[in-house]
């Protein structure tokens, strides 16, 4: 089991050991003092950490987060990381994202389409340490490849692939193989793991740019 990043700890909430970060609660999660529980059932990155994947996260990184939705996961990321760019395409969840950003001075919400990096390349800095991607759209590998331009040479891509977004009718494992193949055009895959314990038909991928 790999080390948790600084700022993420296992703490006891109501008698159970859970991942936690320090920050204002966002989605009604249990709190203990300034710590709040990180629910791996609602967060793919939370599941990747819970399953012991080697994310390479240490704490304090500059992060580009694609598919921030209502800010459930990205709020935890902003709790332990440095400057965090949160890209979300839909207006309704972005409203919740703004609320999560309220108490987090280094969380930058952006209402942009992750498939069009040119629309935010004038805002997001180059050489970020980590790109985290959780977008429910077809062509998830392509999104990761197009956003590789933001990543530092020794940076990490943390990707949650949702099989049902690519094609509901096909076997998830076949879809995952395809995504892995396509991803190999720009990334070296370091680790993959099914997240089914927490998220049905999702694959967690850790990769670094080629």
């Amino acid at each position: 089991m790999s080390d948790l990043p600084d700022g993420v700890e296992r703490r006891t909430f109501d008698g159970t050991d859970r991942l936690a970060t320090r920050g204002d609660p966002v989605y009604g999660e249990p709190t203990d003092g300034e710590w709040r529980a990180w629910n791996p059932n609602r967060s793919k990155l939370g599941a990747m950490l819970e399953l012991g994947m080697d994310t390479g996260l240490e704490g304090g990184e500059t992060v580009l987060y694609l598919g921030a939705a209502s800010g459930t996961t990205v709020s935890h990321v902003a709790d332990f990381a440095g400057p965090t760019y949160a890209v979300e395409f839909a207006a309704r969840p972005a409203r919740d994202l703004l609320e999560a950003a309220d108490s987090r001075p280094r969380l930058f919400p952006l209402l942009k389409d992750a498939r069009k990096p040119a629309t935010y390349a004038h805002v997001v800095e180059s050489d970020v340490d980590v790109v985290i991607q959780d977008v429910a759209t077809r062509g998830q590998a392509r999104v990761a490849l197009e956003n590789a331009q933001f990543l530092a040479d020794d940076g990490r891509l943390l990707l949650a692939v949702k099989a049902r977004s690519e094609d509901v009718t096909r076997e998830p494992s076949a879809i995952f193989d395809e995504v892995r193949d396509e991803l190999a055009d720009g990334y070296e895959i370091l680790e993959t793991r099914r997240l089914d314990d927490y998220h049905t038909d999702h694959l967690g991928i850790v990769a670094r740019p080629r």
């Binding site: 395409f89 969840p93 972005a94 001075p105 040119a118 390349a121 800095e125 759209t137 077809r138």
Partner: protein, 288 residues
């Protein structure tokens, strides 16, 4: 790009850290071919004193930009859509009624008179109507402008529905989606209806006749206009309507409670309808 400085592409170019409005607009509308070390460039160009100062300004600009964009996108609300689709139907109905009246009148003076809105268009386009037919042509002009108004409203509905209810619009088509919103009274109301109710929205007369006990239950309401129902063999239309209503109910809930587009819903519906239609295509040995 070589003769300008790299900082010119950044969101902060031309903005002053004291002018949050300009900066927010630049965040919303700007583009760049590639990312750069914006924090360093901003400090270099004098926009910010140091990295912390830069990030403070960035935070203010991105928050303002996102808040404005969210308000604007959400301002296209379901109530507006409900009014628009009702007005569209009123215009269409009234245009047709007046066109009928016109045809009846025109038949008395012109043995070759046609019918419908098309005939009204033809009549309205006549340059010099014979004396005595002026009122007729004037009425035709009213019919035509009502029909045009209906077309404009349809365009508005087609443009706005995907913003208000992206999943519902994708599954049902924008106009049917807007009609469902109108029948339910709004997106929240539709999101709270069980799929069985969505299935018979628009068939209230038939439903109440059934509840009073002297009619079979209606298989479908307004969703009959959807290809998934109309394109299915009559024996299987009940199944198709049930499947479609189920997905539409889910789409409305996703649109109301989350607002995120879920393309997998489209595929699930397509898949389900194909299965149902296949029962009759290959001789009806229908199990699933």
């Amino acid at each position: 790009m070589t003769d300008s400085t790299p900082a010119d592409d950044g969101w902060f170019a031309g903005a002053d850290s004291d002018e949050p409005e300009t900066a927010a607009t630049a965040v919303r509308d700007g583009t760049a071919d590639e990312p750069r070390d914006w924090p360093a460039l901003a400090v270099e160009s004098g926009f910010a004193d140091d990295r912390d100062d830069y990030y403070d300004a960035l935070r203010a600009a991105t928050t303002a930009a996102t808040a404005a964009a969210v308000t604007e996108r959400e301002g296209a609300d379901d109530r507006q859509l409900v009014h628009a689709v009702r007005a569209m139907d009123d215009c269409t109905r009234t245009a047709n009624e007046l066109a009928e009246r016109l045809a009846e009148w025109a038949g008395t003076v012109d043995p070759d008179a046609g019918t419908g809105v098309d005939y009204a268009r033809e009549l309205a386009a006549r340059d010099e109507p014979p004396a005595g037919q002026k009122p007729l042509v004037s009425l035709a002009e009213r019919v035509v402008s009502l029909a045009e108004e209906a077309d404009d409203l349809r365009e508005y509905v087609e443009r706005q529905t995907p913003t208000v209810a992206p999943n519902l619009a994708a599954l049902a088509g924008p106009v049917l989606a807007a009609r469902l919103l109108s029948l339910a009274g709004g997106l929240e109301e539709l999101a709270k209806k069980p799929s069985g109710t969505v299935q018979v929205l628009g068939a209230e007369d038939a439903l109440f006749a059934h509840l009073r006990g002297h009619a079979p239950s209606p298989k479908h309401g307004i969703i009959y206009t959807h290809d998934a129902v109309r394109g299915t063999h009559p024996d299987e239309r009940g199944s198709a309507a049930r499947a479609l209503a189920g997905k539409l109910a889910i789409a409305a809930r996703v649109d109301h409670y989350s607002g995120e587009r879920k393309p997998e819903l489209d595929a699930e519906l397509e898949d389900r309808i194909e299965t149902i239609q296949a029962r009759t295509d290959d001789g009806g040995d229908g199990d699933e």
